[in-house]
Protein backbone atom coordinates (compact mmCIF):
# COMPACT_ATOMS: atom_id res chain seq x y z
CA UNK A 1 0.00 0.00 0.00
CA UNK A 2 1.47 3.26 -1.07
CA UNK A 3 1.97 6.15 1.25
CA UNK A 4 -0.52 8.40 -0.47
CA UNK A 5 -3.20 5.84 -0.38
CA UNK A 6 -2.75 5.50 3.35
CA UNK A 7 -2.90 9.21 3.82
CA UNK A 8 -5.99 9.56 1.65
CA UNK A 9 -7.71 6.64 3.32
CA UNK A 10 -8.21 8.52 6.56
CA UNK A 11 -10.23 11.45 5.13
CA UNK A 12 -12.09 9.01 2.91
CA UNK A 13 -13.11 6.99 5.95
CA UNK A 14 -14.20 10.13 7.72
CA UNK A 15 -16.29 11.07 4.72
CA UNK A 16 -17.86 7.61 4.70
CA UNK A 17 -18.80 7.99 8.33
CA UNK A 18 -20.30 11.41 7.71
CA UNK A 19 -22.28 10.32 4.71
CA UNK A 20 -25.10 8.05 6.01
CA UNK A 21 -27.46 10.68 7.49
CA UNK A 22 -27.27 12.53 4.20
CA UNK A 23 -28.47 9.44 2.33
CA UNK A 24 -31.40 9.17 4.74
CA UNK A 25 -32.12 12.77 3.98
CA UNK A 26 -32.13 12.14 0.22
CA UNK A 27 -34.58 9.28 0.66
CA UNK A 28 -36.82 11.40 2.85
CA UNK A 29 -36.74 14.30 0.39
CA UNK A 30 -37.56 12.01 -2.52
CA UNK A 31 -40.54 10.56 -0.71
CA UNK A 32 -41.66 14.04 0.24
CA UNK A 33 -41.39 15.16 -3.37
CA UNK A 34 -43.54 12.23 -4.48
CA UNK A 35 -46.01 13.12 -1.79
CA UNK A 36 -46.13 16.72 -2.96
CA UNK A 37 -44.38 18.08 0.12
CA UNK A 38 -41.12 19.94 0.54
CA UNK A 39 -39.76 17.60 3.14
CA UNK A 40 -37.31 18.22 5.94
CA UNK A 41 -34.17 20.27 5.41
CA UNK A 42 -31.23 18.40 3.91
CA UNK A 43 -29.32 18.35 7.16
CA UNK A 44 -32.24 17.43 9.39
CA UNK A 45 -30.91 13.93 10.21
CA UNK A 46 -27.70 15.48 11.55
CA UNK A 47 -29.72 17.84 13.73
CA UNK A 48 -31.78 14.93 14.97
CA UNK A 49 -28.70 12.96 15.90
CA UNK A 50 -27.23 15.96 17.66
CA UNK A 51 -30.44 16.47 19.61
CA UNK A 52 -30.65 12.83 20.65
CA UNK A 53 -27.05 12.68 21.76
CA UNK A 54 -27.59 15.55 24.15
CA UNK A 55 -30.61 13.99 25.77
CA UNK A 56 -30.51 11.56 28.64
CA UNK A 57 -31.64 7.98 28.31
CA UNK A 58 -34.47 6.35 30.19
CA UNK A 59 -34.03 2.72 31.18
CA UNK A 60 -36.76 0.49 32.45
CA UNK A 61 -36.13 -1.24 35.75
CA UNK A 62 -36.85 -4.63 34.22
CA UNK A 63 -34.06 -4.38 31.67
CA UNK A 64 -30.54 -5.70 32.15
CA UNK A 65 -27.17 -4.79 30.70
CA UNK A 66 -28.20 -6.41 27.43
CA UNK A 67 -30.58 -3.59 26.76
CA UNK A 68 -27.84 -1.04 27.19
CA UNK A 69 -25.28 -3.05 25.26
CA UNK A 70 -27.55 -3.59 22.25
CA UNK A 71 -27.19 -0.23 20.45
CA UNK A 72 -23.53 0.08 21.31
CA UNK A 73 -22.53 -3.33 20.07
CA UNK A 74 -24.61 -2.82 16.98
CA UNK A 75 -22.91 0.46 16.20
CA UNK A 76 -19.49 -0.98 16.95
CA UNK A 77 -20.12 -3.91 14.65
CA UNK A 78 -21.18 -1.62 11.82
CA UNK A 79 -18.26 0.74 12.35
CA UNK A 80 -15.93 -2.23 12.11
CA UNK A 81 -17.70 -3.29 8.97
CA UNK A 82 -17.19 0.16 7.54
CA UNK A 83 -13.44 -0.31 7.75
CA UNK A 84 -13.74 -3.49 5.68
CA UNK A 85 -16.07 -2.36 2.90
CA UNK A 86 -14.83 -0.27 -0.01
CA UNK A 87 -17.24 2.60 -0.28
CA UNK A 88 -15.82 5.43 -2.32
CA UNK A 89 -12.54 4.16 -3.71
CA UNK A 90 -11.73 0.60 -4.68
CA UNK A 91 -9.97 0.02 -1.41
CA UNK A 92 -11.21 -0.45 2.06
CA UNK A 93 -9.31 0.61 5.12
CA UNK A 94 -8.52 -2.95 6.12
CA UNK A 95 -8.51 -5.82 3.71
CA UNK A 96 -7.51 -9.46 3.97
CA UNK A 97 -8.49 -12.71 2.34
CA UNK A 98 -11.77 -13.93 3.72
CA UNK A 99 -12.90 -10.56 4.99
CA UNK A 100 -16.34 -11.07 3.44
CA UNK A 101 -17.03 -13.76 6.00
CA UNK A 102 -16.12 -11.42 8.81
CA UNK A 103 -18.40 -8.79 7.32
CA UNK A 104 -21.31 -11.23 7.19
CA UNK A 105 -20.70 -12.17 10.82
CA UNK A 106 -20.38 -8.58 11.95
CA UNK A 107 -23.72 -7.79 10.36
CA UNK A 108 -25.21 -10.83 12.10
CA UNK A 109 -23.66 -9.78 15.42
CA UNK A 110 -25.18 -6.33 15.18
CA UNK A 111 -28.55 -7.82 14.39
CA UNK A 112 -28.29 -10.31 17.24
CA UNK A 113 -27.65 -7.61 19.82
CA UNK A 114 -30.45 -5.44 18.53
CA UNK A 115 -32.77 -8.43 18.80
CA UNK A 116 -31.52 -9.35 22.27
CA UNK A 117 -32.04 -5.80 23.47
CA UNK A 118 -35.56 -5.87 22.11
CA UNK A 119 -36.26 -9.18 23.84
CA UNK A 120 -34.74 -7.89 27.05
CA UNK A 121 -37.52 -5.37 27.49
CA UNK A 122 -39.99 -8.20 27.95
CA UNK A 123 -42.52 -6.39 25.82
CA UNK A 124 -44.57 -8.68 23.64
CA UNK A 125 -44.72 -6.01 20.96
CA UNK A 126 -40.96 -5.84 20.69
CA UNK A 127 -40.68 -9.59 20.90
CA UNK A 128 -42.88 -9.82 17.85
CA UNK A 129 -40.67 -7.43 15.93
CA UNK A 130 -37.61 -9.36 17.03
CA UNK A 131 -39.09 -12.62 15.82
CA UNK A 132 -39.82 -11.13 12.44
CA UNK A 133 -36.40 -9.55 12.18
CA UNK A 134 -34.73 -12.87 12.85
CA UNK A 135 -37.04 -14.74 10.48
CA UNK A 136 -36.44 -12.44 7.57
CA UNK A 137 -32.77 -12.12 8.41
CA UNK A 138 -32.45 -15.88 8.24
CA UNK A 139 -34.11 -15.87 4.89
CA UNK A 140 -32.09 -13.08 3.36
CA UNK A 141 -28.75 -14.36 4.56
CA UNK A 142 -28.57 -17.33 2.15
CA UNK A 143 -29.23 -14.96 -0.69
CA UNK A 144 -26.47 -12.61 0.50
CA UNK A 145 -24.00 -15.44 0.90
CA UNK A 146 -24.82 -16.95 -2.49
CA UNK A 147 -24.40 -13.56 -4.12
CA UNK A 148 -21.02 -13.08 -2.50
CA UNK A 149 -20.10 -16.62 -3.52
CA UNK A 150 -20.93 -15.89 -7.14
CA UNK A 151 -18.81 -12.76 -7.10
CA UNK A 152 -16.01 -14.63 -5.36
CA UNK A 153 -16.07 -17.33 -8.03
CA UNK A 154 -16.25 -14.80 -10.83
CA UNK A 155 -13.23 -12.91 -9.54
CA UNK A 156 -11.44 -15.85 -7.94
CA UNK A 157 -10.88 -13.91 -4.77
CA UNK A 158 -12.17 -13.86 -1.20
CA UNK A 159 -11.00 -10.34 -0.51
CA UNK A 160 -13.86 -7.91 -0.75
CA UNK A 161 -11.90 -5.03 -2.21
CA UNK A 162 -10.56 -7.33 -4.94
CA UNK A 163 -13.92 -8.97 -5.49
CA UNK A 164 -15.45 -5.61 -6.21
CA UNK A 165 -12.50 -4.24 -8.11
CA UNK A 166 -11.37 -4.30 -11.73
CA UNK A 167 -11.52 -8.11 -11.90
CA UNK A 168 -15.24 -7.91 -11.55
CA UNK A 169 -15.31 -5.50 -14.45
CA UNK A 170 -13.67 -8.16 -16.59
CA UNK A 171 -15.97 -10.83 -15.23
CA UNK A 172 -19.04 -8.88 -16.28
CA UNK A 173 -18.17 -9.60 -19.88
CA UNK A 174 -17.87 -13.30 -19.31
CA UNK A 175 -20.81 -14.08 -17.10
CA UNK A 176 -23.31 -11.31 -17.62
CA UNK A 177 -26.47 -13.32 -16.85
CA UNK A 178 -25.19 -14.60 -13.53
CA UNK A 179 -24.11 -11.16 -12.37
CA UNK A 180 -27.40 -9.61 -13.46
CA UNK A 181 -29.14 -12.11 -11.22
CA UNK A 182 -26.77 -11.26 -8.40
CA UNK A 183 -27.56 -7.57 -8.68
CA UNK A 184 -31.27 -8.33 -8.58
CA UNK A 185 -30.88 -10.52 -5.52
CA UNK A 186 -28.60 -7.99 -3.78
CA UNK A 187 -31.17 -5.26 -4.24
CA UNK A 188 -33.78 -7.37 -2.47
CA UNK A 189 -31.30 -8.20 0.27
CA UNK A 190 -30.49 -4.52 0.66
CA UNK A 191 -34.15 -3.57 1.01
CA UNK A 192 -34.71 -6.33 3.55
CA UNK A 193 -31.62 -5.74 5.63
CA UNK A 194 -32.20 -2.01 5.85
CA UNK A 195 -35.89 -2.48 6.62
CA UNK A 196 -37.24 -0.61 3.65
CA UNK A 197 -40.50 -0.87 1.76
CA UNK A 198 -41.66 -3.35 0.41
CA UNK A 199 -40.44 -5.43 3.36
CA UNK A 200 -40.76 -3.00 6.24
CA UNK A 201 -41.88 0.56 6.57
CA UNK A 202 -39.26 2.71 8.32
CA UNK A 203 -41.59 5.70 8.56
CA UNK A 204 -43.77 4.46 11.34
CA UNK A 205 -43.70 2.24 14.36
CA UNK A 206 -47.39 2.44 15.02
CA UNK A 207 -48.51 -0.52 13.03
CA UNK A 208 -48.53 -4.04 14.30
CA UNK A 209 -46.69 -5.33 11.28
CA UNK A 210 -43.59 -3.19 11.56
CA UNK A 211 -40.29 -4.85 12.19
CA UNK A 212 -37.27 -2.71 12.88
CA UNK A 213 -38.94 0.35 14.38
CA UNK A 214 -40.86 -1.88 16.73
CA UNK A 215 -37.72 -3.45 18.12
CA UNK A 216 -36.17 -0.12 19.07
CA UNK A 217 -39.26 1.35 20.62
CA UNK A 218 -37.90 1.50 24.15
CA UNK A 219 -34.56 3.06 23.29
CA UNK A 220 -34.13 6.73 23.89
CA UNK A 221 -31.55 9.47 23.88
CA UNK A 222 -28.00 8.56 22.77
CA UNK A 223 -29.00 4.90 22.41
CA UNK A 224 -31.60 5.82 19.83
CA UNK A 225 -29.10 8.11 18.11
CA UNK A 226 -26.72 5.15 17.81
CA UNK A 227 -29.46 3.01 16.37
CA UNK A 228 -30.57 5.59 13.83
CA UNK A 229 -27.03 6.24 12.74
CA UNK A 230 -26.21 2.55 12.57
CA UNK A 231 -29.23 1.91 10.35
CA UNK A 232 -28.16 4.63 7.95
CA UNK A 233 -24.59 3.33 7.99
CA UNK A 234 -25.81 -0.15 7.19
CA UNK A 235 -27.69 1.22 4.22
CA UNK A 236 -24.58 3.00 3.00
CA UNK A 237 -22.36 -0.08 3.36
CA UNK A 238 -24.70 -2.58 1.77
CA UNK A 239 -25.59 -0.03 -0.86
CA UNK A 240 -21.99 0.47 -1.82
CA UNK A 241 -21.46 -3.29 -2.04
CA UNK A 242 -24.41 -3.38 -4.41
CA UNK A 243 -23.05 -0.45 -6.42
CA UNK A 244 -19.58 -1.92 -6.67
CA UNK A 245 -21.06 -5.20 -7.82
CA UNK A 246 -23.43 -3.64 -10.30
CA UNK A 247 -21.14 -1.00 -11.72
CA UNK A 248 -17.56 -2.09 -11.30
CA UNK A 249 -15.00 0.54 -12.11
CA UNK A 250 -12.37 -0.17 -14.73
CA UNK A 251 -8.85 0.89 -13.89
CA UNK A 252 -8.85 3.89 -16.20
CA UNK A 253 -11.64 5.55 -14.20
CA UNK A 254 -9.84 5.09 -10.88
CA UNK A 255 -8.98 8.79 -10.66
CA UNK A 256 -12.55 10.03 -10.69
CA UNK A 257 -13.81 6.86 -8.97
CA UNK A 258 -14.66 8.28 -5.55
CA UNK A 259 -16.58 11.17 -7.05
CA UNK A 260 -18.56 8.82 -9.28
CA UNK A 261 -19.30 6.62 -6.32
CA UNK A 262 -20.64 9.57 -4.37
CA UNK A 263 -23.01 10.38 -7.21
CA UNK A 264 -23.99 6.75 -7.51
CA UNK A 265 -24.73 6.51 -3.80
CA UNK A 266 -26.96 9.55 -4.08
CA UNK A 267 -28.62 7.90 -7.06
CA UNK A 268 -29.16 4.72 -5.05
CA UNK A 269 -30.77 6.69 -2.27
CA UNK A 270 -32.96 8.32 -4.87
CA UNK A 271 -33.87 4.90 -6.27
CA UNK A 272 -34.79 3.63 -2.83
CA UNK A 273 -36.93 6.70 -2.32
CA UNK A 274 -38.66 6.06 -5.64
CA UNK A 275 -39.23 2.38 -4.78
CA UNK A 276 -40.66 3.37 -1.41
CA UNK A 277 -42.98 5.89 -3.00
CA UNK A 278 -44.15 3.70 -5.85
CA UNK A 279 -44.69 0.35 -4.16
CA UNK A 280 -46.89 -0.68 -1.32
CA UNK A 281 -45.53 -2.64 1.57
CA UNK A 282 -45.99 -6.37 1.06
CA UNK A 283 -48.33 -8.31 3.26
CA UNK A 284 -46.25 -9.90 5.99
CA UNK A 285 -46.86 -13.43 4.76
CA UNK A 286 -45.77 -12.45 1.25
CA UNK A 287 -42.35 -11.26 2.37
CA UNK A 288 -40.92 -14.79 2.55
CA UNK A 289 -41.95 -15.23 -1.07
CA UNK A 290 -39.91 -12.21 -2.03
CA UNK A 291 -36.92 -13.42 -0.06
CA UNK A 292 -37.29 -16.91 -1.47
CA UNK A 293 -37.29 -15.27 -4.87
CA UNK A 294 -34.04 -13.51 -4.05
CA UNK A 295 -32.51 -16.76 -2.82
CA UNK A 296 -33.65 -18.50 -5.97
CA UNK A 297 -32.13 -15.77 -8.11
CA UNK A 298 -28.80 -16.00 -6.37
CA UNK A 299 -28.99 -19.79 -6.39
CA UNK A 300 -29.54 -19.78 -10.13
CA UNK A 301 -26.64 -17.40 -10.50
CA UNK A 302 -24.47 -19.82 -8.54
CA UNK A 303 -25.52 -22.73 -10.70
CA UNK A 304 -24.88 -20.69 -13.78
CA UNK A 305 -21.43 -19.63 -12.78
CA UNK A 306 -20.55 -23.12 -11.61
CA UNK A 307 -21.66 -24.73 -14.83
CA UNK A 308 -20.26 -22.12 -17.15
CA UNK A 309 -16.94 -21.55 -15.49
CA UNK A 310 -15.54 -18.07 -15.65
CA UNK A 311 -13.55 -15.81 -17.87
Amino acid sequence: MSFWRTVLAIPEFALVLALPPLLSSIIARTKAWFGGRTGPPWLQPYFDLHKLIRKGAVYSRTTTWLFRAGPIVNLAALLTTATLVPVLSQHSLISFAGDIILIAYLLALGRMFTVLAALDTGSSFEGMGAAREVTFGTMSEPALFLCLAVIAIATRSLRLSEMLGPQLFAAWHAVTPALLLVVGALLVVLLTETCRIPVDDPATHLELTMIHEVMVLDHSGPDFAFITYAAALKLTLLGSILLHAALPMPDRLAAVGPLLRLIELAGLALLIGVIESMTARLRLNHVPRLLAGATVLSGLATVLILTRGHG
Binding site: P177, R289, A292, V296, L297, L300, V303, R308
Partner: protein, 227 residues
Protein backbone atom coordinates in the same frame (compact mmCIF):
# COMPACT_ATOMS: atom_id res chain seq x y z
CA UNK B 1 -24.81 -10.46 -29.19
CA UNK B 2 -23.85 -13.53 -27.23
CA UNK B 3 -24.40 -11.70 -23.96
CA UNK B 4 -27.82 -10.59 -25.09
CA UNK B 5 -28.75 -14.15 -26.08
CA UNK B 6 -27.54 -15.43 -22.73
CA UNK B 7 -29.62 -12.82 -20.99
CA UNK B 8 -32.66 -13.80 -23.05
CA UNK B 9 -32.35 -17.44 -22.06
CA UNK B 10 -31.86 -16.40 -18.45
CA UNK B 11 -34.96 -14.29 -18.72
CA UNK B 12 -36.88 -17.29 -20.04
CA UNK B 13 -35.92 -19.30 -16.96
CA UNK B 14 -36.83 -16.40 -14.70
CA UNK B 15 -40.22 -16.14 -16.39
CA UNK B 16 -40.73 -19.83 -15.63
CA UNK B 17 -40.05 -19.17 -11.98
CA UNK B 18 -42.23 -16.09 -12.04
CA UNK B 19 -45.01 -18.25 -13.43
CA UNK B 20 -44.75 -20.35 -10.29
CA UNK B 21 -44.74 -17.33 -8.03
CA UNK B 22 -47.61 -15.22 -9.29
CA UNK B 23 -51.02 -15.71 -7.82
CA UNK B 24 -53.23 -14.13 -10.44
CA UNK B 25 -54.35 -15.99 -13.52
CA UNK B 26 -54.06 -12.91 -15.68
CA UNK B 27 -50.39 -12.44 -14.72
CA UNK B 28 -49.78 -16.11 -15.51
CA UNK B 29 -51.10 -15.59 -19.01
CA UNK B 30 -49.12 -12.40 -19.45
CA UNK B 31 -45.93 -14.15 -18.38
CA UNK B 32 -46.63 -16.92 -20.86
CA UNK B 33 -47.17 -14.37 -23.63
CA UNK B 34 -43.90 -12.64 -22.80
CA UNK B 35 -42.05 -15.91 -22.81
CA UNK B 36 -43.54 -16.83 -26.16
CA UNK B 37 -42.52 -13.50 -27.59
CA UNK B 38 -38.95 -14.04 -26.46
CA UNK B 39 -38.98 -17.53 -27.95
CA UNK B 40 -40.27 -16.33 -31.27
CA UNK B 41 -37.36 -13.95 -31.62
CA UNK B 42 -34.82 -16.70 -31.05
CA UNK B 43 -34.93 -18.27 -34.54
CA UNK B 44 -34.30 -14.82 -35.98
CA UNK B 45 -31.36 -14.32 -33.64
CA UNK B 46 -30.01 -17.74 -34.61
CA UNK B 47 -30.10 -16.89 -38.28
CA UNK B 48 -28.59 -13.49 -37.70
CA UNK B 49 -25.78 -15.06 -35.76
CA UNK B 50 -25.05 -17.75 -38.34
CA UNK B 51 -25.89 -16.27 -41.70
CA UNK B 52 -26.22 -12.56 -41.16
CA UNK B 53 -29.84 -12.00 -42.08
CA UNK B 54 -32.90 -13.96 -41.00
CA UNK B 55 -33.96 -16.52 -43.60
CA UNK B 56 -37.46 -17.08 -44.85
CA UNK B 57 -37.83 -20.25 -42.79
CA UNK B 58 -36.96 -18.43 -39.58
CA UNK B 59 -39.14 -15.45 -40.41
CA UNK B 60 -42.12 -17.67 -41.05
CA UNK B 61 -41.64 -19.65 -37.85
CA UNK B 62 -41.17 -16.48 -35.83
CA UNK B 63 -44.21 -14.85 -37.38
CA UNK B 64 -46.47 -17.84 -36.81
CA UNK B 65 -45.21 -18.29 -33.26
CA UNK B 66 -45.81 -14.65 -32.38
CA UNK B 67 -49.24 -14.67 -33.95
CA UNK B 68 -50.34 -17.87 -32.24
CA UNK B 69 -48.51 -18.09 -28.96
CA UNK B 70 -47.85 -14.49 -28.06
CA UNK B 71 -51.08 -12.95 -29.27
CA UNK B 72 -53.88 -15.30 -30.15
CA UNK B 73 -53.71 -17.98 -27.44
CA UNK B 74 -53.22 -15.46 -24.58
CA UNK B 75 -56.19 -13.53 -25.94
CA UNK B 76 -58.36 -16.62 -25.92
CA UNK B 77 -57.31 -17.53 -22.40
CA UNK B 78 -57.83 -14.01 -21.12
CA UNK B 79 -61.27 -14.00 -22.65
CA UNK B 80 -62.16 -17.16 -20.79
CA UNK B 81 -61.06 -15.59 -17.52
CA UNK B 82 -62.85 -12.34 -18.19
CA UNK B 83 -66.14 -13.76 -19.32
CA UNK B 84 -66.27 -16.43 -16.66
CA UNK B 85 -67.46 -15.71 -13.19
CA UNK B 86 -64.42 -17.43 -11.85
CA UNK B 87 -62.14 -16.80 -9.01
CA UNK B 88 -59.14 -15.14 -10.55
CA UNK B 89 -56.55 -16.65 -8.26
CA UNK B 90 -54.35 -19.56 -9.16
CA UNK B 91 -55.07 -21.94 -6.24
CA UNK B 92 -52.08 -24.25 -6.11
CA UNK B 93 -51.81 -27.65 -4.48
CA UNK B 94 -48.29 -26.70 -3.50
CA UNK B 95 -47.71 -23.29 -1.93
CA UNK B 96 -46.15 -20.51 -3.94
CA UNK B 97 -42.87 -20.34 -2.06
CA UNK B 98 -42.52 -24.09 -2.07
CA UNK B 99 -43.24 -24.34 -5.77
CA UNK B 100 -40.73 -21.61 -6.55
CA UNK B 101 -38.16 -23.54 -4.52
CA UNK B 102 -38.98 -26.77 -6.32
CA UNK B 103 -38.84 -24.89 -9.61
CA UNK B 104 -35.39 -23.55 -8.73
CA UNK B 105 -34.22 -27.03 -7.86
CA UNK B 106 -35.56 -28.30 -11.18
CA UNK B 107 -33.74 -25.50 -12.98
CA UNK B 108 -30.52 -26.29 -11.14
CA UNK B 109 -31.02 -29.94 -12.02
CA UNK B 110 -31.41 -29.06 -15.68
CA UNK B 111 -28.16 -27.14 -15.57
CA UNK B 112 -26.45 -30.16 -14.09
CA UNK B 113 -27.96 -32.56 -16.61
CA UNK B 114 -27.39 -30.31 -19.58
CA UNK B 115 -23.74 -30.14 -18.73
CA UNK B 116 -23.39 -33.87 -19.11
CA UNK B 117 -25.18 -34.17 -22.43
CA UNK B 118 -22.84 -34.21 -25.36
CA UNK B 119 -23.47 -31.73 -28.12
CA UNK B 120 -21.78 -31.96 -31.47
CA UNK B 121 -21.93 -28.31 -32.39
CA UNK B 122 -22.20 -25.45 -30.01
CA UNK B 123 -25.81 -24.34 -29.84
CA UNK B 124 -27.01 -20.77 -29.93
CA UNK B 125 -25.93 -20.30 -26.36
CA UNK B 126 -24.82 -22.77 -23.77
CA UNK B 127 -27.84 -21.74 -21.76
CA UNK B 128 -30.14 -23.10 -24.45
CA UNK B 129 -30.28 -26.67 -23.24
CA UNK B 130 -30.75 -25.86 -19.54
CA UNK B 131 -33.35 -23.25 -20.40
CA UNK B 132 -35.24 -25.74 -22.50
CA UNK B 133 -35.11 -28.53 -19.92
CA UNK B 134 -36.09 -26.31 -17.04
CA UNK B 135 -38.95 -24.82 -19.02
CA UNK B 136 -40.27 -28.30 -19.76
CA UNK B 137 -39.90 -29.41 -16.15
CA UNK B 138 -41.43 -26.27 -14.68
CA UNK B 139 -44.27 -26.53 -17.17
CA UNK B 140 -44.94 -30.03 -15.88
CA UNK B 141 -44.77 -28.69 -12.32
CA UNK B 142 -47.37 -26.03 -13.13
CA UNK B 143 -49.46 -28.73 -14.73
CA UNK B 144 -49.53 -31.03 -11.75
CA UNK B 145 -49.45 -28.52 -8.92
CA UNK B 146 -52.33 -26.25 -9.92
CA UNK B 147 -55.98 -26.95 -9.43
CA UNK B 148 -57.67 -25.11 -12.22
CA UNK B 149 -58.19 -26.37 -15.70
CA UNK B 150 -56.95 -23.14 -17.22
CA UNK B 151 -53.67 -23.23 -15.32
CA UNK B 152 -53.22 -26.75 -16.59
CA UNK B 153 -53.59 -25.43 -20.12
CA UNK B 154 -50.94 -22.83 -19.33
CA UNK B 155 -48.68 -25.54 -17.94
CA UNK B 156 -49.07 -27.51 -21.14
CA UNK B 157 -48.20 -24.42 -23.14
CA UNK B 158 -45.08 -23.84 -21.07
CA UNK B 159 -44.01 -27.43 -21.73
CA UNK B 160 -44.52 -26.74 -25.42
CA UNK B 161 -42.38 -23.63 -25.13
CA UNK B 162 -39.60 -25.69 -23.61
CA UNK B 163 -39.79 -28.13 -26.49
CA UNK B 164 -39.74 -25.23 -28.91
CA UNK B 165 -36.46 -24.03 -27.39
CA UNK B 166 -35.08 -27.52 -27.69
CA UNK B 167 -36.18 -27.60 -31.31
CA UNK B 168 -34.10 -24.49 -32.00
CA UNK B 169 -31.03 -26.67 -32.03
CA UNK B 170 -32.55 -28.54 -34.95
CA UNK B 171 -34.00 -25.61 -36.79
CA UNK B 172 -32.00 -25.99 -39.99
CA UNK B 173 -32.65 -29.72 -40.07
CA UNK B 174 -36.38 -29.86 -39.48
CA UNK B 175 -38.54 -29.54 -42.56
CA UNK B 176 -40.80 -26.52 -42.53
CA UNK B 177 -43.84 -28.70 -43.16
CA UNK B 178 -43.31 -30.66 -39.99
CA UNK B 179 -42.62 -27.58 -37.94
CA UNK B 180 -45.74 -25.82 -39.09
CA UNK B 181 -47.67 -29.02 -38.49
CA UNK B 182 -46.42 -29.06 -34.92
CA UNK B 183 -47.38 -25.45 -34.36
CA UNK B 184 -50.77 -26.02 -35.91
CA UNK B 185 -51.38 -29.07 -33.77
CA UNK B 186 -50.52 -27.16 -30.63
CA UNK B 187 -52.79 -24.40 -31.70
CA UNK B 188 -55.73 -26.67 -32.46
CA UNK B 189 -55.06 -28.56 -29.24
CA UNK B 190 -55.21 -25.41 -27.17
CA UNK B 191 -58.25 -24.29 -29.03
CA UNK B 192 -60.06 -27.52 -28.22
CA UNK B 193 -58.84 -27.24 -24.63
CA UNK B 194 -60.29 -23.75 -24.49
CA UNK B 195 -63.62 -25.10 -25.70
CA UNK B 196 -63.53 -27.86 -23.12
CA UNK B 197 -62.65 -25.36 -20.38
CA UNK B 198 -65.57 -23.30 -21.53
CA UNK B 199 -67.82 -26.34 -21.21
CA UNK B 200 -66.37 -27.18 -17.80
CA UNK B 201 -67.19 -23.69 -16.66
CA UNK B 202 -70.70 -23.90 -18.00
CA UNK B 203 -71.18 -27.25 -16.38
CA UNK B 204 -69.76 -26.46 -12.98
CA UNK B 205 -69.56 -22.69 -12.77
CA UNK B 206 -65.91 -22.97 -12.03
CA UNK B 207 -62.80 -24.50 -13.48
CA UNK B 208 -61.70 -26.67 -10.68
CA UNK B 209 -60.67 -30.05 -11.96
CA UNK B 210 -60.20 -31.78 -8.65
CA UNK B 211 -63.64 -30.80 -7.50
CA UNK B 212 -64.75 -32.03 -10.85
CA UNK B 213 -63.45 -35.46 -10.03
CA UNK B 214 -65.35 -35.56 -6.75
CA UNK B 215 -68.62 -34.54 -8.30
CA UNK B 216 -68.27 -36.87 -11.19
CA UNK B 217 -67.76 -39.78 -8.87
CA UNK B 218 -70.73 -38.93 -6.75
CA UNK B 219 -72.97 -38.55 -9.78
CA UNK B 220 -74.92 -41.68 -10.51
CA UNK B 221 -73.47 -44.15 -12.93
CA UNK B 222 -76.43 -44.26 -15.27
CA UNK B 223 -76.86 -40.51 -15.29
CA UNK B 224 -75.93 -39.96 -18.90
CA UNK B 225 -78.60 -39.45 -21.46
CA UNK B 226 -76.84 -41.00 -24.35
CA UNK B 227 -78.77 -41.12 -27.54
Amino acid sequence: MQAILDAVFMLIILLDLAMLAVSRLASCIRIFAMQSLLLALLPLAADTLHVGIPGRHALLIAGVTIALKAIFIPRVLERIIRTGEIHREVEPFIGFTASVMIGALLAAGSFAVARRLPLAEAPLSDLLLPASLSTVLIGLLVLISRVKAITQVIGFLVVENGIFIFGLMLLPQTPLLVELGILLDVFVGVFIMAIVVHHIRREFDHMDTHLLAVEANSAGAASGGEG
